[in-house]
Symmetry: none
Subunit: 203 residues, 4 copies
């Protein structure tokens, strides 16, 4: 007879979500394996059936979190819409992606923190290459801005720097939202943000 069958992949994802919730709540460093086990309603040892180590959970969480986002941005870029619409969509996508994360938005802090440090371990260096991720985002958005400049919608402005500013704006809003969710209505903020930037960049 076949032994108990478990959808390992589904359970792994569930475990990942539990881990991310704990990381978001306590921070990676202060999160204990037992906390994750409790959150997931399983035994401590079981975690190791799905992840090699605490670090590995974190790495997997990073990919889980970042994963779809990249695909979404690509989709926006390759759409036939104009730069202003793309601009708005980028903002909405970022905000929506974060809101969808719900409970574990706070994990962003740890991703930033890990992504920013100069890692001694080559492995981590490679995995948390946020530097490159941001570099790419800036390029993507700069292209949209350059398009806008080319077709005369935006005035002549440093596109790369403007992109950095928009990204910064969104990250900074998320930061404030994590800190004080009731204070910041992200959806409204997204609209105002788009408004300010589009006016600010307009010829």
């Amino acid at each position: 007879m076949s032994p108990r069958t478990v959808d390992k992949s589904a359970k792994k994802r569930a475990l990942l979500r539990a881990s991310m919730k704990v990381f978001a709540r306590k921070g990676f460093a202060k999160a204990k394996m037992i906390d994750i086990a409790n959150e997931a309603g399983i035994g401590k040892g079981t975690i190791y059936e799905y992840f090699r180590s605490k670090d590995q959970i974190f790495i997997d969480a990073f990919h889980f979190f970042i994963g779809d986002l990249e695909a979404e941005y690509d989709k926006i870029l390759s759409s036939p819409k104009g730069p202003i619409e793309k601009f708005e969509e980028i903002i909405d996508t970022t905000i929506d992606g974060f809101l969808a994360a719900g409970d574990f938005g706070g994990i962003l802090m740890d991703f930033w923190a890990e992504g920013i440090r100069n890692h001694q371990q080559i492995e981590m260096e490679h995995i948390f290459n946020l530097k490159e991720v941001y570099q790419k985002y800036r390029e993507i958005i700069a292209e949209v801005i350059e398009d806008g400049i080319r077709i005369g919608k935006f005035r002549e402005i440093d596109a790369k720097l403007s992109a950095a500013i928009l990204i910064g704006c969104l990250d900074g809003l998320l930061l404030q939202s994590i800190m004080d969710p009731k204070m910041i209505d992200l959806r409204k903020a997204a609209r105002v943000c788009a408004n300010i930037f589009i006016s600010g960049l307009a010829r």
Copy 2:
């Protein structure tokens, strides 16, 4: 003849700077007391002559870092300049404050991370009340924006939300600068940022 006197206060500040450098480099959690001692060129035990605990160093570092900034903002606000000039000064002050921090800018990540979590310990809750700090910043900047609206320089816009967006923008730029200092010319970014916002808010 006076006995060997050590300026405790000066040494404490030196120690604090050493600690912040280490925190910035490795993150609070991964920073070891021995790292701080080595950075400061003293013995591990000596740290405890100046600080009760590792946590206390962190708390003191927070105040050391935030300290003057608040005063600076107050000065800007109470100056007789117009809202646009104030706006520009707020941006410059934030960027300059960060640039002045130099080596230990990376500690911002830890302040954010600590400030954001829901602390179990009441003590920490009180000390790292970033929520309140940001709340206050938003109010200060919103006031400037409202002034601008009142005198017709800025169009009717949600001042509080705009303030949040500006703060987010600055934080987000610092984030990118910590991550990739060579990529982001903060001074130039400050100018572009001011430019975009002032145009974006302009009637």
Copy 3:
């Protein structure tokens, strides 16, 4: 039609052999249950259908290994041959027994190690009573030597001690053979060993 019958005893022996191979290769302490399962090509849980515990496997392996050897020695002793022939046969039997073990000769190390320690557990104390086993061997061989002395083939010598020396000699050769199989030709060593001892004991 008989239901799927598994020869439990045969499978148990096969499992035992797999276990011994693993013990020989990695040592008892470093051998994992999963290693044994893999070596035997079965599931981890199945081992427990045949053995109560890892310790029990080890105990059973010990008996499996030692088992026949005792019978062989008894046969030699009760044969009508002379002491010199018996002497040679004891050496050959020991070496052959070891060579027959083949892949799992290395398990001897663990038997010695376990047999030698002062066990906290009474159970182990009783089971791994190597002390007694060796005591008995010494007596058996001493008897052969005394026979040799009695009939004038061997000179007057401490028979018990000489027996210990011969046993030591054989164990020590096995040790070297386990360590460096290509270096020690055990069969040749057996002959030289017999030669040296018989000459050395000869009147």
Copy 4:
């Protein structure tokens, strides 16, 4: 004022002795760090001030144990004495070295066990190269035997194999002595052993 001074080297040696005692008693695998700490009368954490890891203690113990022995053998060989005297001295030195080890003779079992396994880790492979150690011993003793053959004291015999047999003999005696110290009078055994071998090898 100078802080508490500790002779780190002396304490390390004392700790090593305590560790070896525990290893001898329980075996490396079953020895716990806390056992070592208790035996040494210190705290668990203190061990790590002197040794990187449990493995490192074991490696250091190996060198501590083997260390002088090699020098002793070299001294014997380079002496101007005849092969028979050298032969006797080799036996005595081995036995005396072991007797001097006293309480921690049982650690030999672990050295053998570790030295014999095929190590996955290159590091261990290199450190516990018992294979080479034994190879060298066999060569040293074989030389003595060849000397004896050359000057006509010993008969034509496979010197290398005879050396292996002598070494085996000594190891095997130690084994029995570890197992049952009261049963084996090692000093007497040494004399009988020398006697048998010298007669056995004699022309």
